[in-house]
Symmetry: C2
Subunit: 683 residues, 2 copies
């Protein structure tokens, strides 16, 4: 059975072929009027401009880290690092291409063929990202696993792949997060507030940048985030498997392993996560194509059912794998605990950003903006504990069922069907863009109704997706943390040692500081967009009045947002990469262990707090816009808009940045663990 791991790269390639064929299918769909085609083109070009400029900067970063890793750690690790980074970049590029081609086609499908077809087109356009993420991840992991064989050193080299994925993810999330919110806030401030023209009005030069931002943040950023979790969870589990200590007590617990040589057991343990994600990807194929069965019904149900189908197939395949591979059944339960935890956290995120919490926030608008803010902050804070409890339960079950290895498996279980779940995530911004295009190209009210309903559904899937991304990031960071503690060769990391306590405190600082930096960045970047839009309204004659032939210049807005976002991603990136290195070498590997735990805890809490508070403010505003508490334009609405504006960087920039931060710091530590082993720090 474990010989099947050689098939992993091929399943990965199969996924890419399917994604390619789906992309062909999407491109074949009609993309509407010349105006729609032009809008599509502008968004596409804006997105590609951003990616190209981002990747140009990243090439330097990758080159430098490649050399540092090669000379400092191992050349194989350095090569794996480059491939991890490239895979993440290719996944982002593929997903963005499909998404920015799918938007106008979704609008046209809504216009000509109705809701079922529009759902079909947007879903399949999103699936390109889902399948690319899972396919490239499995291709890279499987390839290196095959090249280097399943030995403990493999675990050490392959960590580089995860670090490559993490580095790209950080820049994609932070840069993308700053871009999307700067464009959004900038376009709204001048357009809606100052000039009094509607959202997505074609006269507004910032609208294209705003639509580009949806893709940059929610497709490229989210995709890189999930790609990193996917790869990180598998690699952590391989690393934990590779460093298992097979004692007689261990064997006594697992009769199924008795009689096997320790090396053989380790190989099984290292092969298991690869097989599990293979099964997950195969299940995702089934899940993705099952949309054909559901697309004519309720769209919300259809999306949900595709992930359920993938999950059920996955559970069946996992039973077969556990049995055929001769693994203890505890491994199966660990996987299931992660799968269920992922679903639970997603649903909790949906709860806290809808229903009673948002009605409570909306009600606070009666006494003004301040009480809206206080209520939203309180909702965000209180929303952290149940998801964290869910993660604790997953850790507990994973650990009790399969030891520390179970924690890795639990993360793998959460992420294995990522081909299907990421498809749903990527669907959201495509539907959002389709709505924008139908508004700007003035399609009829019937079409608007369809794109609006698909867009609204996208907001729900986005909330669930964000919760899932945080949960998987926390569990992956924890699995990487466990892998680090094994790899660095410390028998214990004792919190009775004050140096470990210091580590936990330092760990808490990094998310706090990075959250503050990214929030401030959005403000700065938005300000430069505001100035550019104001300039265009002032200098382009007839633009604001909507005169024939007066056209905005969206490209400069795209350019400004790109420059600002890329500039702002550098400092948080350096903080994240350098802190573990400095702490590890100056204060020693034990303090670094404490730091990772402190950072994971603080980062996960802040991510949940900010994502849920932001989502709740957003939906409280929408709830008022539906006519409650005075409706649109009332003082209550204005108070709710303040909450929504505060929530923007919370939920789309700083909150998501936490996901990457905690994984990146763990993976950097894991990569430098071999050098740190035996080192005691400078004091």
């Amino acid at each position: 059975m474990q010989g099947l791991t050689v098939l992993a790269p091929f399943v990965g390639i199969l996924s890419l072929i399917i994604a390619w064929l789906i992309f062909g299918y999407v491109k074949k769909q009609p993309n509407g009027s010349p105006l729609m085609q032009e809008l599509e083109d502008q968004i596409h070009k804006g997105a590609m401009t951003f990616l190209k400029r981002e990747y140009t900067i990243l090439i330097f970063f990758i080159g430098i880290v490649f050399l540092l890793l090669g000379f400092g750690v191992a050349w194989r690790t350095a090569i794996a690092f480059v491939t991890g980074a490239l895979c993440s970049m290719v996944a982002g590029y593929s997903g963005m291409t499909a998404a920015t081609r799918g938007n106008s086609r979704t609008a046209e499908a809504a216009n000509k063929s109705g809701q079922a077809k529009a759902l079909n087109v947007s879903y399949f356009a999103g699936s390109v990202m889902g399948l690319a993420v899972a396919g490239l991840g499995l291709l890279g992991l499987g390839f290196w696993f095959w090249v280097w064989g399943g030995s403990p050193e493999t675990a050490q080299y392959i960590n580089g792949f995860a670090m490559g994925a993490s580095s790209i993810a950080l820049f994609a999330r932070v840069g993308g997060g700053v871009y999307t919110k700067a464009a959004d806030v900038g376009a709204d401030l001048v357009g809606k507030v100052e000039a009094g023209i509607p959202e997505d009005d074609p006269r507004n030069p910032g609208v294209i940048a705003d639509n580009v931002g949806d893709n940059v943040g929610d497709i490229a950023g989210m995709g890189a985030d999930i790609f990193e979790s996917f790869v990180g969870s598998v690699i952590a589990t391989i690393a934990i498997g590779a460093t298992l200590t097979i004692t007689p007590e261990f064997l006594a617990n697992f009769p199924v392993l008795q009689g096997l040589a320790p090396e053989a057991i380790k190989l099984k343990y290292m092969a298991m996560p690869i097989l599990v994600v293979m099964a997950g990807l195969l299940s995702s194929f089934v899940g993705v194509f099952s949309i054909k069965l559901f697309q004519s019904g309720n769209p919300a149900g259809a999306l949900r059912y595709t992930t359920f189908v993938a999950a059920i197939v996955f559970v069946i395949l996992t039973i077969i794998i556990t049995n055929s591979l001769g693994m203890p059944w505890g491994c199966f339960w660990a996987i299931v605990s992660g799968l269920l935890c992922g679903i639970a956290i997603g649903l909790l995120a949906e709860y806290y950003t809808s229903g009673p919490p948002i009605r409570r926030i909306a009600g606070q608008s009666e006494t003004g903006a301040a009480t809206v803010i206080i209520a939203g902050l309180a909702v965000g804070m209180v929303s952290t504990w149940l998801p964290m409890l869910g993660i604790c339960v997953a850790i507990f079950i994973g650990f009790k069922a399969a030891g520390i290895y179970g924690i890795g498996l639990s993360a793998v279980g959460m992420l294995a069907t990522v081909g299907a779940t990421m498809t749903v995530d990527a669907y959201g911004p495509i539907a959002d863009n389709a709505g924008g295009i139908s508004e700007m190209s003035e399609l009829g009210p019937e079409t608007r109704k369809i794109t609006d309903s698909l867009d609204a559904l996208g907001n729900t899937t986005a909330a669930i997706g964000k919760g899932f991304a945080i949960g998987s990031a926390a569990l992956t960071a924890l699995a990487l943390f466990v892998a680090y503690t094994q790899a660095v060769g410390l028998e214990i990391i004792d919190i009775k040692n004050p140096m470990v306590v210091i580590g936990v405190f330092i760990g808490g600082m990094v998310p706090m500081v990075c959250a503050a930096l990214t929030m401030t960045s959005v403000g700065k970047a938005a300000f430069s967009i505001v100035e550019e839009i104001r300039r265009q309204f002032r200098e382009i004659p007839g633009l604001l009045e909507g005169k024939e032939g007066a056209k905005p210049d969206p490209a400069t807005c795209v350019d400004i947002a790109t420059t600002a976002a890329l500039k702002e991603m550098v400092l948080p990136g350096l903080v994240a990469v350098l802190t573990p290195v400095v702490v590890g070498f100056v204060l020693g590997p034990e303090t670094l262990g404490g730091m990772l735990l402190g950072a994971t805890s603080m980062g996960a809490f802040l991510a949940l707090f900010m994502a849920n508070a932001g989502g709740a403010w957003d939906n409280a505003k929408k709830y008022i816009e539906e006519g409650n508490f005075g409706g649109k334009g009332s003082d209550n609405h204005k108070a709710a808009v303040v909450g929504d504006t505060v929530g923007d960087p919370f939920k789309d920039t700083s909150g998501p940045a936490m996901n990457i931060l905690i994984k990146l710091m763990s993976v950097v530590s894991l990569v430098i663990a071999p050098i740190l082993a035996g080192w005691a720090g400078l004091f």
Copy 2:
């Protein structure tokens, strides 16, 4: 030398006598016109009403916990618990009495004798709280240390004293915090915003409640908080000393101890903190009376110099103690590290709530309330890392200089001169009240100028005091955590064990949830005040128009705020007390150890975040009111007011509640440690 500990209760009593004499001096001062006397009386009665009602509820709580501790732990612990609670209550009562008698006398001194005399009266009125806190703490600690002798069991029983102090502190901080902000927000919302009358206008029925709130929050709440830190740090250090393992390596490190029996060494280590706080209290006497030398000069300098005088005398006495007691010199450096860390954290809090950060926040008012909020949140987040680094440095120095015992000593060093620092803290609300009374009784502009400048200085000392309170809480919680890990008899608490990781995560939940609960409570309580003030304006004929004879009924506002505050303190209180007990018995003492560390870290970060963000918003608003960015009444000012309103529960309710939370959970764990020893949890 260590025999001098028998003098501790007498030094404590001496402090109380001095406080009593000072109170006599304050009461002898003229308290102005009949109107001023009436206002003083109303505030005094309101404060006493709150205390009486609060203490009545607390008596039940104390009775129940007394029985639980008696039957569950030890009767001596239970008795010590009751005395700790009573000492805290007496300290709160004394301080409140002096403060509410000092306010009108300060106003009258400003009116008749000028600034120096006004400073003198308010400072000495505040010193009653400072000396009561330190005196009662030393009396209780010294008394029990003398009764039970310096044996390891003493440490166990005396923990009850700290738990008593903590329990009262929680209710005083949460109840007081809710009270003060509910009254403040309620009075402002109806008075300033709806009715358009100035702050502190005598027509507003909520103004007395607001002035009562200043005392309830910043005197009783702050005093109970500092009392708890003071007692907790000493007891933690005694407990660590009592559970030292005296190995040959230990002795090799400290030549000065060689040749002594292990028991003799332990006795020295247990006596040291008592002697140090005795020295601190004696130094505080010198510091407090040194105000006479400085009062004619710059008031800000005068207050600062009194604490410096106390600190310098304290350092000299500590050198003498370390030498005479024959303790390693590392102990001295540990104490100094705590002392300096306390000063540094206070100054950092001042920096983040003034100067460039607040100008940046004020500048964001140009683009509205949302950007003010974002900027303030970012300042709050970024303001956490340097103070936390300061705590890390103190831990590091304490640990390297004197082992884990040094962490306890570091906390003791920070708190020993509390008689002087708490005096400065208590001065603030007295000056604030004096300002309110001179406004309401329409004293001349010259007088207003003096009281305004003393009030402004009070805001600075409040920021420093809040920073100091957080820093000392974090260090005390950490010392209690170390004491817990020693007392529960675990050799190690290994974060490689996932059960400890689960503990860290659970620990993070509690501060998040309690912060959310307390923020929500303020809103609810403020709402009931708003309704009452509206009712009075509506039903009392001529009140709003200021007709002769139309008087508001402030007592009902006081009553409503009291009821609401006391109701709201119950849930967070239960969460804080029960979580460690449940975690300890269900998941075991290792998980509980992880939980304490997680809670201390999260609690300290949230406390700094909320206190500094709140302070920064407050001062950004004041900065605009000084005429910058459009000045009072401008749109910018309105945006800044939103920030200030959000900051109110941040800095005066939820933030300070964190201080208590982390200490209380640690001390509850320390008290149940003997029962938990050897227990492995249910799983």
